[in-house]
Amino acid sequence: MDTHASITNLPDSAEGQAHAPHGEVEHAHPTWSTYWKVALILTLITVGEVWAYYIPSFVASRSFVPTLLTLSALKFAIVVMFYMHLKYDHRLFRVLFTGPLLIAGLTLIALMFLFGHLYIKVM
């Protein structure tokens, strides 16, 4: 067994441990191979989105917009969790990010209702 720390199989950071004097421990960040896999997944999703854009029958269908929004949200979540390390970092960072994001998202939905882009059918 290799007794030297190899640069390719080491967790990228234990910075959390080094930076946290009060016992607050962040988990180790992903490895390089995880970063490459994440990049590949992001690329494939983007290719899928653009491909969907060029299928007229799919664009005309009801599932087009929800599919694209889901794929976009998935890409957003992947980058935030793995590249921004929010999955591994302290929960305060999660609160600082998701709190304003939630408020902003709800405001966006409210504005869409207010300006008639979204509506609820009332019988």
Binding site: T3, H4, A5, S6, I7, T8, N9, L10, P11, D12, S13, A14, E15, Q17, A18, H19, A20, P21, H22, G23, E24, A28, H29, W32, Y35, A39, L42, T43, T46, E49, V50, A52, Y53, V59, F64, V65, L68, L69, L71, S72, F76, V79, V80, Y83, M84, H90, L92, F93, L96, F97, P100, L101, I103, A104, G105, T107, L108, L111, M112, H117
Partner: protein, 224 residues
């Protein structure tokens, strides 16, 4: 041993909060949270006025000027924007590799592959070049739009589109300048694992700019 070795070198200057978190990292996350609100306000404005332009050019539809008979083609160029989106996604990969290289700076690099992966200068350069390439795509897009008759004052689409993507482009520009300062530090004295927080903060900003574009690409370019 595989994944058990960790750094123990703490930074020379501690700025801890009472939670034991570095205050600079707390600050960047709070800043990113506020930036979320800024961009959602711009995206909201775009969506509210979507499809309400009285005159063309329009993003996805052909429009004929009734007074001149001039036919305006759909203005968005999806292949070009897809390429720029790919470049920005790759820049995020380069950025995490730059951060990992700085964090693992002191580890021995025995193979050529390890030396490449461990080169912070290489990955910072790659990120900066990818960011600049994205800005080049955006400059090309803006220029071609203006030549095709779409300006910020032309219609509601032009106003909201240029404001939204212009703000994003300004953020990318700030990110590239930030990367250049990191590169200058790296060339001047060399970035070590003690500087990993500096790179981490800039990486968080860079990835945020990337996720904003992920949303813009879908909402503005792909959804008709």
């Amino acid at each position: 041993m595989s994944a058990s070795v960790v750094h123990t070198s703490a930074p020379a200057h501690h700025h801890y909060t009472t939670l034991g978190l570095d205050s600079r990292k707390v600050a960047i996350w709070a800043f990113i949270g506020s930036e979320c609100m800024l961009f959602v306000s711009l995206i909201s404005t775009y969506l509210i006025y979507k499809g309400r332009s009285v005159i063309g050019p329009l993003p996805h539809e052909v429009w004929t000027d009734p007074s001149t008979g001039h036919v305006y083609k759909p203005i968005l160029n999806i292949p070009v924007t897809s390429a720029s989106t790919f470049v920005l996604l790759m820049s995020s990969l380069f950025m995490v590799l730059a951060l990992a290289a700085v964090q693992n700076k002191e580890l021995p690099k025995r193979t050529r592959g390890e030396r490449i992966l461990g080169s912070s200068k290489l990955w910072l350069w790659m990120t900066a070049i990818a960011g600049t390439t994205f800005l080049g795509f955006q400059a090309f897009e803006f220029t071609s739009f203006v030549h095709e008759g779409l300006t910020i004052r032309r219609n509601l689409f032009g106003s909201t589109f240029f404001t939204l993507t212009g703000f994003h482009g300004a953020h990318v520009t700030a990110g590239v300048l930030w990367l250049v300062t990191l590169l200058a530090i790296d060339y001047r004295r060399g970035l070590t694992s003690k500087d990993s927080l500096l790179v981490d903060i800039s990486a968080l900003y860079w990835h945020f700019v990337d996720v904003v574009w992920i949303v813009i690409f879908t909402l503005v370019y792909l959804i008709k």
